[in-house]
């Protein structure tokens, strides 16, 4: 018999929807967007761009874990490989930023399709181990392939001119490009969750054998959501490469896979806003505690343990329970 990989979580049913979106969701999105519009005048724009890239990465990951019920421990592969491709495209091929990001995203999609079609043959923790092992293989590839620059990475990547016209060199300008990309990505993921496809995904997560018995080709759905998740993870990685103007092994290493799991778990898996908050917290932590060295690692470990033992719903999950509305 097949086992279910259900991850329990909150998902009550709101009926007060406006334009297909519960009103409070729409208000949060608008508030978030407004805040991000003015944020670079208060906070350091590069830091904010990093947060946004990771927020998109975590949202993509959450689509797979929180809504597909699949724990991938190798999402760094798509994030990192896309960042290499995007950096290479911008630097060596001289592509404009939107095309560079697009090419990175496409490569992540293809990679996701290849690894995904193998990984979905196993379930539960095996699935996690398989994705981890494949990601390690991608890491070795990135380390040895000539175009990635090995340990040096791809450095001094030009951001280029958006659509060939608008220079994105100034951080503030590029900030709004990144805002558009990541916000668009997060909204797209939101739509996917709330699509007919998303509805079937939820059913599979809740009860896989039953979904099969209703005639759904469960593995095709799993593969589809895996590929979509890898694609958006790639989009985040490709964007990040242009933000920092470099692509490096950090992004493709397994600790990166662990970090995105942590962001999602901390914020609240299976929630809409949890991964965004989780990404913000972890990136801020890494940024401001950078001088503490290995303590950052220890703190991340402690957060993992506490999150698993004490608040599995994550911060947003707990909030959602208090206000009795899904977030």
């Amino acid at each position: 018999m097949t086992t279910t990989d259900t991850v329990s979580h909150v998902s009550a049913q709101p009926r007060d929807k406006a334009m297909g979106m519960p009103r409070h969701h729409m208000m949060i999105f608008i508030a978030l967007f407004a805040a991000m519009l003015v944020a670079p005048f208060v906070l350091y724009p590069v830091f904010l761009m990093k947060v946004m890239c990771f927020a998109l990465f975590a949202a993509a990951f959450n689509l797979l874990l929180g809504f597909g019920g699949l724990l991938s421990f190798g999402h760094a592969a798509y994030f990192g490989m896309a960042s290499y491709v995007s950096a290479h495209a911008a630097k060596v091929w001289g592509l404009t930023p939107e095309l560079a990001i697009l090419s990175g995203t496409l490569v992540a999609m293809v990679l996701g399709a290849v690894i995904g079609s193998l990984a979905i043959r196993r379930q539960g923790i095996y699935f996690a181990m398989v994705t981890l092992a494949f990601a390690q293989m991608v890491y070795f590839f990135a380390l040895q392939a000539p175009f990635t620059g090995g340990e040096d990475g791809i450095q001094a990547v030009p951001r280029g001119d958006l659509f060939g016209i608008l220079s994105t060199r100034p951080d503030r300008t590029f900030y709004y490009v990144v805002l558009a990309i990541t916000f668009g990505g997060v909204l797209a993921i939101y739509r996917i969750i709330h699509s007919p496809f998303g509805q079937v995904l939820k059913a599979i997560r809740e009860n896989e054998p039953r979904s099969i018995s209703l005639g759904y080709h469960v593995n095709r759905y799993k593969l589809a959501v895996f590929v979509i998740s890898a694609t958006f993870a790639g989009m985040a990685g490709a964007t990040k490469a242009l933000v920092f103007q470099l692509a490096s092994l950090t992004d493709v290493y397994w600790t990166m896979s662990g970090e995105v799991v942590l962001m999602t778990l901390l914020g609240g898996m299976g929630t809409v806003f949890g991964p965004l908050l989780g990404a913000g917290i972890i990136v801020a932590m890494q940024n401001y505690f950078a001088s503490f060295g290995a303590w950052v690692l220890i703190m991340q470990g402690i957060i993992f343990v506490l999150a698993v033992l004490l608040f599995r719903e994550g911060i947003i999950g707990v909030l959602a329970r208090w206000i009795k509305k899904p977030l």
């Binding site: 990989d5 196993r122 181990m129 290995a294 220890i298 993992f304 698993v308 033992l309």
Partner: protein
């Protein structure tokens, strides 16, 4: 003198022997994972960190207390196994009613903490641990110089692996263990304290990892990151072998060590990924793994 694909047979034998040594570590670690998985149904991500602890505790015993390697062989698995028991009682035991993925996440977090603490304390450059006198030197086998310490690893891990296999497959205790794996409630009905058995099993699996760490201490550099690379490869070994049988874990471990050794001779560039490639093929052909139960 005949050669095989351009490789002199002496070199080939040497590499096979070395592959066997690597395989010893794979086998011991995947065995520990299999035992834990069998009863607790979690993948112990902390396994690599516990292997590293084994090596470090061996070093500490010698440095701070003057306790030698041979005593460490007994003491270290007990000490590290005991920390495992504490972890199981305090944390892992709270997760059995939940999705198994939480066990993976918890042990991943624990691995980060343990690794970070050791990094803070000892840095990452690595600490030397001198092999005991009996293991220094080596034998000239004609086709290679085999250090005694390596020979000892093969012997010790074979004894441990076969001992574990014998205990689980052929003794009454093992029979309970296997039965509990299949059906915990049934064994509970036989009047066996299942939670205690689970705790001890976790301790035992962790002890195995620590023992591998003791064996590694004189050979590899003792450093906080020594487990993190190995554990991912061992995960692949486990996926290839499947969690069906104890013997399967042992055979796969040794076998993949040999395969890796051969790759080092014929195509060294591929030796880092050969196990992952095999994993991909096994997933295509036999998704449940070579020794895994179908369904």
């Amino acid at each position: 003198m005949f050669e095989l694909l351009g490789i002199p047979p002496q070199a080939l034998f040497g590499q096979l022997l070395l592959g066997l040594i690597n395989g010893s570590f794979y086998a011991m670690l995947s065995l520990g994972l299999a035992v834990i998985f069998g009863l607790l149904n979690i993948i112990n991500f902390t396994h690599g960190a516990q292997y590293m602890m084994g090596a470090f505790v061996t070093w500490m015993l010698l440095t701070y207390f003057g306790i030698n390697y041979w005593a460490a062989l007994i003491l270290v698995p007990l000490i590290v196994g005991a920390t495992g028991i504490v972890i199981e009682r305090l944390m892992i035991s709270r997760l059995y009613h939940l999705d198994h993925l939480y066990g993976l996440l918890l042990t991943f977090g624990l691995a980060l903490i343990i690794q970070g603490l050791f990094r803070n304390q000892y840095g990452v450059s690595g600490i030397p641990y001198a092999a005991p006198e009996l293991l220094q030197g080596g034998h000239n086998l004609g086709f290679m110089y085999l250090p005694n310490s390596r020979l000892w690893v093969i012997v010790a891990s074979l004894v441990v692996c076969l001992g574990t296999w014998f205990m689980i497959e052929k003794t009454k205790l093992g029979a309970y263990l296997r039965a509990a794996t299949e059906n915990p409630t049934l064994v509970g009905a036989f009047g066996i304290n299942v939670p205690r058995m689970i705790t001890l099993t976790y301790g035992f699996g962790v002890g195995l990892a620590a023992l591998a760490g003791v064996l590694a201490a004189p050979i590899y550099s003792v450093n906080p990151n020594m487990g993190e690379q190995l554990i991912i490869v061992v995960f692949a070994v486990v996926v290839i072998g499947g969690m069906g049988s104890i013997l399967g874990a042992i055979i796969t471990g040794f076998g993949l060590g040999l395969v890796e050794g051969l790759t080092r001779v014929f195509y060294p560039e591929g030796s880092a990924v050969v196990i992952f490639v095999i994993m991909a093929i096994v997933l295509l052909v036999k998704p449940a793994g070579l020794f895994g139960r179908t369904a």
